[in-house]
Symmetry: C2
Subunit: 173 residues, 2 copies
């Protein structure tokens, strides 16, 4: 259900990317989300799983909770959620629960995405809600953030392994 990508979508996805970058600067997997209501961003959030040690603190879930507070209702009607990565089952489910009518995401998550990749949870007529979905907005930028993050992580792990080996060798001598 891909609708036309417009400049507004790019602008709001840029805001989600800024959130993703904040997550990355905290050592979190760089994923960000914003929720827009009547042309204004009413909630911004980024993945905080490691910092909070709370399994459900994904960007989308935090943004949805913030938006519920702002609107004063669990029903987020007339909102659009922008997120840099295709939502996981939990976040796709939270989108259904909060009745968000439109979701725009950047990069696909081939391993766990539940909007297009593994399941199409947002477009199953058996649920009591369905969403309009626009994918691929600034997908390259959104995906590159993740690629760079995981490459740097692997580099740090390799360096750590090398230092551990040197330490073990020096202790043996």
């Amino acid at each position: 259900m891909n609708v036309e990508i417009n400049n507004k979508d790019r602008q709001f996805m840029m805001a989600a990317i800024e959130e993703a970058k904040i997550a990355g600067s905290l050592g979190e997997v760089p994923i960000g989300a914003v929720i827009v209501f009547q042309g204004e961003i009413i909630a911004r959030a980024h993945n905080l799983r490691e910092s909070t040690q709370n399994a459900v603190t994904h960007a989308e879930l935090l943004a949805i909770q913030e938006a519920c507070k702002v609107i004063g209702s669990w029903r987020l009607e007339e909102t659009t959620l922008y997120v840099t990565l295709e939502p996981c089952p939990m976040c796709a489910g939270a989108i259904l629960q909060s009745r968000i009518p439109r979701v725009v995401y950047g990069a696909r998550d081939l391993k766990a995405g539940c909007v297009d990749s593994l399941y199409q949870l947002l477009n199953d007529p058996r649920f009591n809600h369905e969403c309009d979905v626009t994918e691929g907005v600034l997908a390259e930028d959104c995906g590159q953030l993740l690629t760079d993050f995981f490459r740097a992580l692997r580099g740090r792990k390799k360096e750590e392994k090398r230092l551990r080996k040197l330490l073990a060798e020096s202790e043996e001598q």
Copy 2:
């Protein structure tokens, strides 16, 4: 993946039912959950969607967040989640995210259940986690709570409609 139901399972489901009853007494759809670690309940929660006006405050999600706090980690290894109703997509996703190894539920949710009914999200080898699932523990008690709740709700709505009609008639006179 149904394993043998034992007395412990019944005992912990009773605790989840107590939580569901608290939800019902608050006018919330009566669903409750507890999380058990090393034979002890470490988190108890009930559905609070209406009271909080927060779309994600399902019993399971609240219990998972509480358990993460208690254990001090987003990984809820060696825990069992007991919930009175088959989890929805959001809660099934949160179970995957928190790596809960075993889930025990009471009644099936034929309209939105994502463990057995509509999807089997907890047993999809493409995700990075799978769960042992036991269903049907005190299913009748768990389901009856919901049946009674919705019957009473319909009764109240019918009575409200009757009173509104009487009021309109008296205003016309």
